[in-house]
Symmetry: C2
Subunit: 192 residues, 2 copies
DNA sequence: GTCTATACGCTGATAGAC
DNA sequence: GTCTATCAGCGTATAGAC
């Protein structure tokens, strides 16, 4: 197991633990036993827990950038649906919530560095969605009366909320329903 | 300071701390210093932290029951708006989030007793909203195509999400916007 | 890079005096 | 009911050998 491998394995494990138990709900010891290394080795890669938290946020920020670039030539309606599906996949069969939902709830008990990076991640997603809604309106796919940025925020609230409730009640259908509600409210026709 | 007073003061303080920092983000020591008593005194009233967590959830459950009873003769539209306003007041000027949003995020790192009571609280609010939407549809105030329980859930997602984001970005306007969006989507006319 | 060993503060919790 | 005193355990974090 090489260095780079270990480092990304640590982040991957932290990621799973954070999205399941929250930032304060996991410890270096949890990671150490999960991947069979010692706590001190984690501190070598991430001296402070805050560093690991930031790495987690930044990873999702990069993943989202990559995801938007991979979309190619899809209609605005298709992009909207793709976003909901991608978001829903974070649920991991009702075991996890989304990064945004997690950092938003635990926000005030997180180190300042994580707070800043959280704001950036949320702003990044909001901006992408705002532009999507704006484009969808201009190109006649989305309802004209929508306010782009408010609709973008609305989408995040709904998808993020549905993941949390799906986990609590073990009802994956909540995520699908949230998607359908959003598509119906935002898109002009084809209620599907 | 009599006994009953101290007990309710402890719950009140726990409440503020939980809605700001989360269940794992506060300690008996935080409460003790906040109201100038010793940790052991808190353990007298609430032997385990879980007991205090449950008291917190149950208090909000009772408060919600009382709130719904105090509504009197209001139209369904007025009830919808009243709900959003009541919910928004939990924000406490962008310093707190809602009980549902908090327990939903930290769910898997909470003791089983708190999880159960959280489920009950959420179900209670969902049910009241479902009945409201149902009634609003039947009486012609709300849009007929809405599915009552999905709309109820949608409302919780949106209001709960808006409180969290309002806190992060210090934008109380997000809560008001969430309310207007919901009213517009659910009510038939008077876009306001 | 990974390990062993260790420091040390804070946590939830208990025993017992008043 | 509230206090002082105390506990074991776990948290993050560091030093230094290999």
């Amino acid at each position: 197991m090489q260095t780079r491998s270990t480092k990304s394995l640590i982040v991957k494990t932290a990621e799973e633990l954070i999205l399941s138990y929250g930032y304060q709900g996991f410890s270096y010891n949890d990671i150490a036993s999960a991947i069979n290394i010692r706590k001190a080795s984690i501190h070598y890669h991430f001296p402070k827990k805050e560093d690991l938290g930031i790495a987690f946020i930044r990873k999702y920020s990069r993943l989202f950038s990559l995801w938007t670039k991979r979309l190619g030539t899809a209609s605005n309606r298709e992009r909207l649906i793709a976003f909901c599906r991608m978001y829903g996949s974070l649920s991991n069969n009702c075991t996890r919530i989304c990064p945004i939902g997690m950092v938003a709830a635990d926000y005030h008990s997180m180190p300042a560095g994580i707070q800043e990076h959280s704001q950036e991640l949320i702003a990044q997603v909001e901006q992408w969605l705002t532009e999507l809604v704006d484009k969808g309106k201009k190109e006649g796919e989305f309802r004209e009366y929508l306010r782009s940025s408010d609709t973008a925020r609305h989408m995040i609230y709904v998808m993020s909320g549905s993941l949390k409730m799906a986990r609590i009640f073990k009802e994956p259908g909540r995520i699908k329903r949230a998607e359908k509600d959003l598509v119906f409210h935002i898109c002009k026709e084809k209620e599907q």
